[in-house]
């Protein structure tokens, strides 16, 4: 990291983060001035106005410019999708527990006086609430319906085409289409032309500002003038070199966020589409490897300047402002050959040097991934930022083809959006975060006569209870009934939500960079993309499998535990039933230990859900499919589930990740975890899976250790597990394990000539091990 990058990083992190109503003010005004026009037109006009009017700024040391607000990392209030929560929570933003923002008193006042009153009845959120709010609320303890108050995002736009065409060429294409278009299509292209005009103005504004600044900052004059040239050129022609390509890419993402304020637009396979520019510049002697790294690091900083303002509850589910600039490097090319180039290596180096939360860097692995790329990636993992995460071509490509009907070429070109959600590149609206379905809550209702253990409310009909099911099969049948019931209601709610996005949030600019929308004259929200999926998350296989296995074995097979007694224990959250709880925890096998019997129960119910879901078609005419990831939702999802037969206390977190075992119940080591996870068929995670693992830093200390880690990852590839990410255990983790041993039962440490479970060691010994765990030797 050179001095420039160091400075820019410091400036960015020092700047206070504010909630911003600037764009909300512009949008509200444009809507009011154009009352008679359609929502699509109002949206396009207000984006154009925002691009022309929003205050902009350039840090004189920057090489890549652009942001959606003047301040960095601002929380943008975006009224069209929904802002009732802002009205409720505005004052709390600086003090709430997760993801805080500063607020200005005058902004609150203006928002309440001029902005909120206009949107109160007109936002998408309100529309959904009016039409289906009660139904969504009724199922919410089992199914969390997402995207009810913000735009969907989670899209990998066609960056390659954007770089090759730029706004001016796209605008020309839209004009040509308009010439032939009829009816509704005409408006679609008119809107597209408006927003592309806005994009062109936006680039000119940065050019002009850079020009002006070159006089004020003589020491930076030459770079500022270069910025000015680049921005001006990009406004009317495609990117022509590596630097322009990065600048052009960044403008694309800024504008996408200004249009949608959605979480996650992904640059996707950056090493592939940037490499030709890099190669050409190097060949011509116009760029060095160091220049390229500096430019990439400038872009990396930019990825950290846009954050996403979520409401208090959502911040709990998705903590830490994840905005999901997901970059996927490595992987196979169109012919199935491994592709990895100098830009892939530079991406890893930028990540290693900056260690910031964005971009969300992903490495695609396959059987032929090079030793060099893998070792470099492992080195970055060892720094402990949890990145890069790894995706598996051998699991993903095939299942995308088989389950989703994606062509071989598109499947080989998959990218990642958000955290771990899978998509094709540049031609898909995956709607990957449609809903989260809590199977553990469904089991609770099935065991408890349809009654919610936490609230006492009856959430579904009484299909029976643990006290009435004479056999395990009867219990399973009731569970399936509960799942079916809520699934049907979920689909109805999904249709309302997707329709609302079409009505309230048409996105002309996004449609210009998602394949097929332009050609078909259909907005991306209306199904204009080549692929249209909706992804539902299965929550949480580990707890469900552990619970069912305990019931099957201890209640129905050995009869060690009495059914009525267990139901009583669950209703009392095990108070007074601690021995029974210990028995449930310790005397039945648990998912994550390479025990086929229990692992297959996880697969069985996930598969039941998946195959039933596959029978539905989404509102855009595409397929529903499943994912197994929670981000941080396993905590609030767990708060909502009473005591469960796996021995878990009421309200405590469910297993993390999505495919991971429950905390501390994987006692046979990391290879056993991988074997268990590999028993979940790949088709369950076409929308993405998530597996978290922890390793001690000493593991990465030697070349030998890193080679063993490579062996581990190559086995992961062979086992066809879609995803894995690693945290490096820190001193704090061990300290925490001392205080909360129940959460760390699986944590093993090297003691003497053997490895032991940390929590089972004597306190003094634990202290010694804490003492020696650090990063000194990395």
């Amino acid at each position: 990291m050179n001095e420039r990058i160091e400075h820019l990083k410091q400036h960015m992190l020092e700047e206070e983060r504010f909630a911003s109503i600037e764009q909300a003010r512009i949008i509200t005004r444009v809507y009011q001035e154009n009352e008679s026009r359609s929502i699509a037109k109002k949206r396009a006009l207000s984006l154009k106005a925002s691009l022309e009017e929003m205050e902009i700024t350039i840090d004189p040391e920057e090489l890549i410019v652009g942001n959606r607000t003047k301040g960095v990392r601002a929380g943008v209030v975006f009224p069209e999708s929904g802002c009732s929560w802002i009205d409720r929570e505005f004052e709390d933003l600086p003090t709430r527990p997760q993801d805080r923002f500063q607020v200005r008193g005058e902004d609150i006042e203006e928002f309440r006086k001029n902005i909120y009153p206009y949107w109160k009845e007109r936002s998408m959120e309100e529309g959904i609430r009016r039409e289906y709010g009660e139904e969504i609320r009724k199922i919410s303890r089992v199914v969390k319906i997402n995207q009810t108050d913000h735009a969907q995002g989670h899209i990998c736009p066609d960056v390659e085409t954007w770089l090759k065409k730029g706004p001016a060429v796209l605008r020309q294409e839209a004009k040509t289409h308009l010439y032939l278009a009829k009816g509704e299509e005409r408006e679609f292209y008119e809107c597209m032309i408006l927003v592309l005009d806005g994009a062109i103005s936006f680039m000119h504004r940065y050019a002009n500002m850079a020009d002006r600044m070159s006089a004020d900052y003589p020491e930076h004059a030459s770079t500022l003038r270069e910025i000015a040239y680049n921005c001006r050129d990009l406004a009317h022609r495609p990117a022509q070199n590596f630097r322009e390509a990065l600048q052009s890419l960044w403008f694309l993402f800024v504008i996408l966020h200004m249009e949608s304020n959605a979480s996650s637009f992904s640059p996707g396979r950056m090493d592939r589409y940037l490499y030709p520019y890099y190669q050409e510049d190097i060949k011509r002697g116009e760029l060095t490897r160091e220049d390229a790294l500096e430019l990439l690091e400038c872009l990396w900083l930019k990825f950290n300047q846009i954050v996403y303002l979520r409401n208090r509850n959502s911040a709990k589910y998705f903590a830490g402002f994840p905005i999901g600039f997901n970059i996927a490097i490595g992987g196979v090319d169109d012919n199935g050959e491994d592709t990895c180039n100098e830009v892939s290596m530079l991406c890893l180096q930028a990540q290693e040097e900056l260690g910031l939360p964005q971009p969300n860097l992903s490495v695609r692995l396959n059987r032929n991934t090079s030793h060099e790329l893998l070792q470099k990636a492992i080195q970055v993992v060892s720094k402990g930022s949890g990145m890069p995460q790894f995706f598996n071509d051998e699991a993903i490509i095939h299942s995308m083809q088989e389950e989703l009907g994606v062509t071989e070429k598109d499947a080989r070109n998959y990218a990642i959006v958000g955290c771990v959600e899978l998509t094709t590149s540049g031609n898909c609206l995956g709607w990957s975060d449609a809903a989260m379905f809590n199977l553990c809550k469904a089991l609770e209702l099935a065991l408890n006569h349809g009654r919610d253990e936490i609230t006492g409310e009856h959430l579904c009909p009484d299909f029976g209870g643990l006290d009435t099911y004479e056999t395990f099969e009867e219990l399973e049948e009731a569970l399936r009934k509960v799942i079916d019931l809520f699934m049907d209601q979920m689909i109805k709610a999904e249709e309302v939500v997707e329709k609302a996005h079409q009505d309230y949030l048409p996105t002309a600019f996004l449609s210009s960079v998602v394949k097929d929308c332009m050609d078909r004259g259909i907005d991306v929200t209306k199904g204009g993309a080549h692929y249209n999926f909706s992804g539902i998350q299965i929550i949480q296989a580990a707890n469900l499998a552990d619970s069912l296995e305990a019931l099957k074995k201890l209640v129905y097979e050995t009869h060690e535990i009495d059914r009525k007694l267990l139901l009583e224990a669950l209703r009392n959250d095990f108070r007074g039933y601690e021995v029974l709880q210990a028995r449930l925890l310790n005397k039945a096998p648990k998912y994550g230990n390479d025990i086929a019997e229990v692992d297959s129960l996880a697969a069985k119910y996930a598969e039941y859900f998946r195959s039933r879901l596959a029978g539905y078609t989404n509102y855009r005419g595409g397929k529903y499919h499943t994912g197994m990831y929670t981000v941080s939702a396993h905590v609030p999802m767990g708060e909502n589930v009473g005591a469960s037969p796996d021995g878990r206390n009421a309200g405590t977190p469910l297993a993390d990740g999505g495919m991971s075992p429950s905390y501390g119940r994987d006692l046979a080591g990391p290879t056993a975890v991988l074997k268990s996870v590999s028993r979940l068929p790949e088709e369950l995670t076409t929308n993405g899976g998530l597996l978290n693992m922890k390793f001690l830093p000493e593991f990465f200390a030697s070349e030998e250790g890193r080679q063993k880690f490579e062996d581990f990852l190559r086995a992961f590839v062979d086992l066809k597990i879609p995803h894995i990410q690693f945290n490096v255990v820190r001193r704090e983790d061990l300290e925490n394990a001392k205080l909360h041993p129940e959460q760390y039962r699986s944590l093993t440490v090297r003691v003497a000539g053997y490895t032991a479970y940390f929590v089972e060691l004597d306190g003094k010994l634990q202290d010694e091990i804490i003492e020696r765990t650090g990063y000194d030797h990395i």
Binding site: G705, R750, A752, G753
Partner: protein, 312 residues
């Protein structure tokens, strides 16, 4: 009971990354002819299954006391105190404990059931990993081990053996053809001292070393000495061992293992006392340098210094 049909195993550790090359599965056989005072695996000493009590798991419910026979255990202040010499079965007590705080320290495996466990991590072994047979003393189970290692060889699984060599020569020669890598200890060169600190003299061990280092597997052998303060960690001892093996087999690999002060951690669980409690310490880099010099000077050996990152 030592047979060729089955063997008692006190642990199978998957993802063992400290016992040789690659990712390995280490099988710990129960029973050992030696009684090294510094032994860190006390549950590997006896050749019979024994109960073990893990205090951190205990929820102090008293279920064990209800299931126990007379004289099997006392329940004092909410905590079970096991009579480790109780001759009868512990099954009922182990079954009754809801927290798995009282467990059996070992399990019987026959050839097929052990192979099944070894195969579990086959996909992780890749080119360099495999199975390590350790203990206890794996060669006490030579007849059984030979069959298992044959299977490994035919399935292309790399095998390593960690042995004290305090076994009859025929036990060594039985398994040797199937070993890809052998780690053998010489702890003390002087037999009287060896007897004092490990319970047996070293004549048998040295005789086996001669067989080993003149066999066709000699290149696959690493001789090791654990450095125990005041016992084995003595330059004279090290020099003589290095001299001896260097003459037998010029260029032989010799590894010095630094002492780990946490070696006594498992004694209490098996109801045993660690006689070196408080007497162990890790040697500094400078001290290790000195030991290494003593080993290398004038001797025809290839010295392997313990990898720094590991805590043995």
């Amino acid at each position: 009971m030592i047979t060729s049909d089955q063997a008692l195993v006190f642990d199978i550790k998957r993802f063992a990354v400290h016992d040789g090359s690659g990712i390995r599965t280490t099988v710990f056989f129960k029973g050992c002819p030696l009684r090294c005072r510094w032994c860190h695996n006390p549950e590997g000493l006896d050749a019979q299954p024994r109960p073990m009590y893990l205090p951190n798991r205990c929820i102090h419910c008293g279920c064990c006391a209800k299931a126990a026979e007379e004289n099997q255990l006392r329940f004092e202040e909410g905590t079970p105190v096991l009579n480790y010499d109780y001759p009868g079965s512990w099954d009922a007590v182990i079954q009754a404990c809801p927290a798995n705080a009282i467990v059996c320290d070992s399990k019987w495996y026959d050839r097929e059931s052990l192979m099944k466990r070894i195969r579990e991590d086959r996909v992780f072994f890749r080119d360099s990993g495999g199975v390590t047979f350790s203990g206890g003393e794996p060669l006490l189970h030579a007849a059984f081990l030979k069959e298992v290692m044959k299977d490994c060889q035919s399935e292309g699984i790399h095998t390593a053996v960690e042995t004290s060599l305090s076994v009859p020569q025929k036990s060594l020669t039985a398994v040797l053809p199937y070993c890809d890598e052998i780690f053998a200890d010489i702890k003390l060169f002087e037999s009287a001292k060896h007897r004092e600190f490990t319970g047996v003299g070293n004549e048998q061990i040295l005789a086996n070393i001669r067989v080993l280092l003149s066999s066709e597997k000699k290149d696959a052998v690493t001789i090791r000495t654990p450095l125990i303060p005041g016992i084995t960690a003595d330059v004279n001892n090290i020099r003589r061992i290095a001299d001896y093996i260097g003459r037998l087999c010029p260029g032989v690999k010799y590894e010095l293992l630094n002492c780990n002060p946490l070696a006594g951690a498992k004694y209490a669980m098996s109801g045993k006392r660690f006689s070196l409690e408080g007497k162990l310490r890790r040697f500094s880099e400078e001290e290790m340098d000195e030991f290494c010099r003593a080993a290398a000077e004038g001797n025809d050996i290839v010295l392997i210094r313990e990898r720094k990152a590991e805590e043995r």
